[in-house]
């Protein structure tokens, strides 16, 4: 049955590609989550009327975030080739895709983090200050926990975008399902391979969305 629908699919190769896609997504999501929260916090804290209000730092951070967010991902990969080569010694393979994935996604996520933090009631921050809390206490015990549902739903959206990015990264040699669909499916006119890769990507996206929704609802006590 399955052989009839997908006559050209070599399953061990397909699973290997699936593994590479999941690997790239997972690592880049984890690093994007941390980096994005750090950048988002910096944006939030240095913005007007907040704890570390600083026009220069805010302007520079905003500029960097906007620039990297505006560069189309496929061009970002190419631009980062020298950087990736210097960092990893190669531009092929799943690991080589990670710098571009993270640099592409982290600024995007940082904006979502900033928006999530702005949604926090200013009064709660004032209350923490009135109790004598340090900025670090406010960050870890007020800002992050209070915005957690929004941070999780934001990283869910970002993770799904990253799955798409891994496919693009695949086209220039990073491996994964995008690579397989392009080289084995498109270029050799084996539509069934493209279809199988697409279905697996869809399943990955659905699973990410499901996990994200589960935790968002679980954490939201409002």
């Amino acid at each position: 049955m399955i052989e009839q629908i997908f006559p050209n699919v070599e399953w061990p190769v397909m699973w290997e590609a699936t593994y590479e896609t999941i690997y790239m997504t997972l690592i880049s999501v984890v690093i994007t989550f941390i980096l994005g929260i750090a950048l988002g916090l910096l944006l939030f804290l240095t913005s007007k009327g907040n704890l570390w209000e600083n026009k220069i730092v805010y302007a520079v951070t905003t500029a960097v975030v906007n620039i990297f967010r505006s560069i189309p991902f496929i061009i970002l990969i190419v631009l980062l080739i020298p950087f990736t080569r210097a960092l990893l010694g190669t531009i092929r393979g799943a690991d080589a895709a990670l710098p571009a994935l993270i640099i592409g996604a982290a600024p995007f996520y940082a904006r979502m983090v900033e928006i999530a933090l702005r949604e926090i009631d200013k009064g709660v921050i004032e209350a923490a200050r009135s109790m004598g809390a340090k900025v670090s206490t406010i960050v870890f015990k007020v800002l992050i926990p209070e915005s957690m549902p929004a941070l999780i739903s934001g990283i869910t959206v970002t993770a799904i975008a990253l799955v798409g990015y891994t496919a693009m990264a695949g086209v220039i040699g990073a491996g994964g399902l995008g690579n397989l669909a392009f080289l084995d499916g498109f270029q050799r006119s084996r539509d069934d391979v493209t279809l199988a890769a697409t279905i697996i990507i869809l399943i990955i996206v659905f699973i990410i969305q499901f996990i994200g929704d589960f935790f968002t609802n679980r954490l939201d006590k409002r």
């Binding site: 709660v124 015990k141 926990p145």
Partner: protein, 341 residues
């Protein structure tokens, strides 16, 4: 205890500068419940925020128990804030934490070990009457219960001063009363100095010992609550006092009564303190050959005694009327004969 000297706060705005607090001088005694009343924009919020350093004064000094709040910074200010708690109009609880975890938060900030925190949290939950709700999230509580959590949280580190920022303004009248009773209770039990700001005279009347009236950034009137009720000097104070003593419709009703009772006199009696508890009307009826008709009245309790006003209509012979008015004046009751104006 708290000394505010020549405090001024100027905010820079796009259109120029705005003086929110203007040369305010106040001394607040230990164990006192001190009220600041004013309409929105009077500067009372800014004033109370300078007491815990959430705002720094542009000029002047704020001294609490020998600590110069207006000039300390960093770690010293944070340490001082642990002894100057604050409760808020909108409660400002962390919704991601349970009631117990919210109350535990200031203890975490103060670095209290976990076991002690647990013990203290249980005491506080009991103190504010929230037994059994420790594991609930703020979203599951009513407004009054949320403010109780706010109060418990504020008391966690044994503060010397409790600042109340419109703490009852978001609550319905009944809940307001129960929260005010709780504040009086902790004031008496813990000897805590309480500074509260409000726009409701009802709150001042119910729990404050002294009151400052603010208008346009200045303190325009200051005194014991009962004194201020008895003899409000400023126009704004009179309006606040009327909020409590005279229902909205009183003026119209009185007008109507004067027209209705063409003969005899309509008299407004003001009772303050002990005179409010004397049987003045009984004595009046027994001693004089007059018809006494009670038209309208209201007595309010303050922390220092009762205050009230009563409108009566007297009907009888002219000389008997005059003697009755003399009698009332002698009975340390404020007398005002109301005539057509």
């Amino acid at each position: 205890m708290i000394t505010i000297s020549d405090v001024k706060k100027v905010f820079k705005t796009k259109t120029g500068s705005l003086t929110a607090v203007d040369k305010v001088n106040l001394k607040i005694k230990e164990g006192e419940i001190f009220g600041v009343i004013g309409y929105s924009g009077a500067g009372k919020s800014t004033l109370i925020r300078m007491l815990n350093g959430l705002e720094q004064p542009s000029e002047g000094k704020v001294d609490i128990n020998g600590k110069l709040i207006s000039s300390i910074k960093g770690g010293d200010l944070r340490k001082a804030r642990q002894k100057i708690s604050m409760i808020f109009q909108h409660f400002n609880l962390l919704w991601s934490r349970t009631v117990s975890e919210n109350i535990s938060f200031p203890l975490e900030i103060a670095g209290v070990p976990k076991q002690e925190r647990q013990k203290r949290v249980n005491e506080l939950i009991e103190l504010v009457g929230l037994e059994g709700r420790g594991d609930a999230y703020p979203a599951q509580l009513s407004g009054g219960q949320k403010q109780r959590v706010g109060i418990a949280r504020a008391l966690a580190n044994d503060p010397e001063v409790l600042l109340c920022d419109e703490a009852t303004s978001a609550l319905d009248p009944q809940t307001t009363d129960s929260i005010l009773e709780l504040l009086v209770d902790i004031n008496k039990r813990l000897g805590l100095t309480i500074v509260l700001i409000t726009h409701e005279m009802h709150v001042i009347r119910k729990i404050c010992h002294r009151v400052a009236v603010m208008e346009g950034g200045k303190v325009v009137e200051l005194g014991d609550v009962l004194e201020v009720f008895k003899q409000p000097k400023e126009q704004i104070t009179k309006r606040f006092v009327q909020q409590v003593t005279e229902p909205e419709e009183t003026r119209e009703t009185i007008e109507q009564l004067i027209n209705e009772y063409q003969d005899g006199r309509v008299i407004k009696l003001s009772f303050v303190g002990e005179s409010a508890e004397q049987p003045v009307i009984t004595n009046l009826i027994r001693s004089f050959d007059l018809q006494v008709n009670i038209l309208q009245g209201k007595i309010s309790q303050t922390q220092n005694g009762a205050y009230g006003s009563l409108f009566i209509h007297l009907h009888g012979k002219q000389d008997e009327l005059d003697r009755a008015i003399d009698f009332l004046e002698a009975a340390s009751v404020g007398v005002e004969v109301i005539t057509h104006d």
